[in-house]
Amino acid sequence: MMIPRFQWKSLAVLVFCLILALLPWTINPFRVRVFILGGIYAIATTGLTLFMGFTGQISIGQAAFFGIGAYTSAILSKVGFPFVFSFFASGLVAAACGLIIGFPCLRARTFYLAMATLAFGLSMTIIFKNWTSLTGGVSGTGGIPAAGIGPFLFDGFISYYYLVWIIAAIVLFFAYRLTRSYLGMGLRAIGENEVAAESLGVKSYLFRLISFLICSFLGGIAGSLYAHLDRVIAPENFTSEESIIFLSMAVIGGLKSIYGGLIGAIVFTLIGEQLRSLDRAQVIVVGGLLVFLVIFLPRGLVSFPEKMEKLVSKLRGETSVQKIP
């Protein structure tokens, strides 16, 4: 029996949205905060997936853009700008930093780029810690006003939950459209064979730069949402360990699908929550999971159904049929 795939997919998306919409009413407020974090991480990780997935590049600097967005939003809101303004400003400032760093670094590829972005992330942590007049130094910035759009004030966990997930949904829809756009096709072509893509008129450097800017923009707006969640931020939230966690989320979820970032962020946040009792051993489990998944599920959790399908047909003794994508 063969059920067409797309039905499964749309059913899954529908069920997922329904669960998300009803979730905050069934669990206690503290747990709602975990799911808000999941949504924020999903936005930042989707950016990373867009940049890394198609072209096979690596960025270990997403937490730096996350931090730049968070600080921009915090500072602007404290001065008195409305949330909507500081929200978009944080994305734009992060994208501007992405331009400054991406312009020279994107000449390099894969590993070199990974290390350049890592160096950028480490430098940003040092700057967050030491530029005391702007960022409040090691102890961070507090007293950030609650997010509000017009007369609505998102000061409770439940209302903020809806705000974050609506933005996440918009971002995901945008990402979905992007993969089917000229830009997305070009990026995919670069990932397949860069020289061939260039010969067909795809400007590799420009395309990669644009996708890096989108990646940093999404990191920035996720950071803005993060700043208005607890209304206090500190440099330790934006270290390179965080960047590695973003990278792990993207890889565990799966880089080749736009849902990878979403799935990775939710799974990762939930695992982190479940393992909280393990305290420091948590990182060991996460690291082990990373090694395990890279070896046994190299295309991430999104490829899990596919893998199961293959396994089942193997157990049944059917010969595998090459699927045309």
């Binding site: 690596i58 020279p104 160096a119 480490l122 430098s123 040092i126 070896i295």
Partner: protein
């Protein structure tokens, strides 16, 4: 003038340990096509194993050196066997991500075992400064530079003179042809991983008296080792050594004459500039990739 010479000596001291880390990076990159994020952790392991055997078990220094290098080599072989070997046929990105996972595990194990405390490693030749015609020298610095140069020399001889070393170079050059010549490529890769972990461990135990030993020293020093490898040209052994000494000197002059607060920011800035201008490093001429 005297202070400048002192700065140079101190820069070379730190640079020597960076160079040892960079050597391991370069070797793994060339022979295994692996950019090992976990390589910095071998530095941390070396420092801690050395600390454990020399300070807590009170073993003589040379014996603890032996124990450190042997233990690091063994850990390297185990890691390679469990986590790296299943991925040789996978894309290099997966290998890189896998090494991030390994680094997380190693660092956190050390965090739990040592309790996130900084330890002091006693200096080998003493830290009392010696005055030599207006120049003040700490004997420890000479020990570090001397040992590092000795290790580099021994390593070079190993690559050039021994059968295993030659086989390693053959695998780095062309794994397929090497396998036709009867060299077991898998075994060579395992040895490369073990040897580079040993070099990292030796760098760790050398660096230990210069600063405190902490569980997170691996990340920073690993990244600096990588910067050196990149600046010199990854895959090139003289490049790694040159890069190490260069970065040590730059850091030293920078922290004493410009800013010590943003010392690392400037090192990273150098990395970014080198990557942008000469992506393949100073000593390697860029080649167009064949289609």
């Amino acid at each position: 003038m005297e202070t400048v010479i002192q700065q140079i000596i101190f820069g070379l001291t730190v640079g020597a340990t960076y160079a040892l880390v960079a050597l391991g990076f370069s070797m793994q990159f060339r022979a295994m096509n692996l950019l090992n994020f976990a390589h910095g952790e071998s530095f941390m392991m070396g420092a801690f194993i050395g600390l454990f055997s020399h300070v807590f078990l009170k073993l003589p220094l040379l014996l603890s050196w032996g124990i450190t290098m042997a233990a690091c080599g063994l850990i390297g072989i185990i890691i390679e066997r469990i986590a790296i070997r299943p991925l040789y046929k996978a894309p290099p990105l997966n290998l890189f991500i896998c090494s991030i996972g390994i680094a997380m595990i190693l660092r956190q194990i050390s965090n739990i075992l040592t309790g996130a405390v900084s330890y002091k490693f006693p200096a080998t030749l003493g830290e009392a400064p010696v005055h030599l015609g207006g120049i003040t020298i700490v004997p420890e610095q000479l020990w570090v530079i001397g040992m590092a140069l000795l290790l580099m020399f021994a390593f070079e001889q190993f690559l050039k003179k021994t059968r295993t070393g030659k086989a390693m170079r053959a695998v780095a050059q062309d794994p397929y042809t090497a396998s036709l010549m009867g060299i077991s490529v898998l075994r060579m890769k395992s040895i490369v991983y073990a040897v580079s972990t040993m070099l990292g461990g030796a760098a760790g135990i050398l660096y230990a008296p210069l600063a405190y030993v902490t569980f997170d020293m691996g990340l920073w020093n690993g990244i600096k080792g990588f910067i050196c490898a990149i600046v010199g040209g990854i895959g090139s052994i003289p490049g790694a050594i040159l890069g190490g000494f260069l970065l040590g000197l730059i850091e030293q002059f920078n922290s004493s004459y410009i800013t010590s607060l943003y010392k690392d920011v400037i090192s990273f800035f150098i990395l970014i500039i080198v990557i942008a201008v000469r992506p393949k490093g100073l000593l390697i001429r860029s080649k167009r990739e064949k289609v």
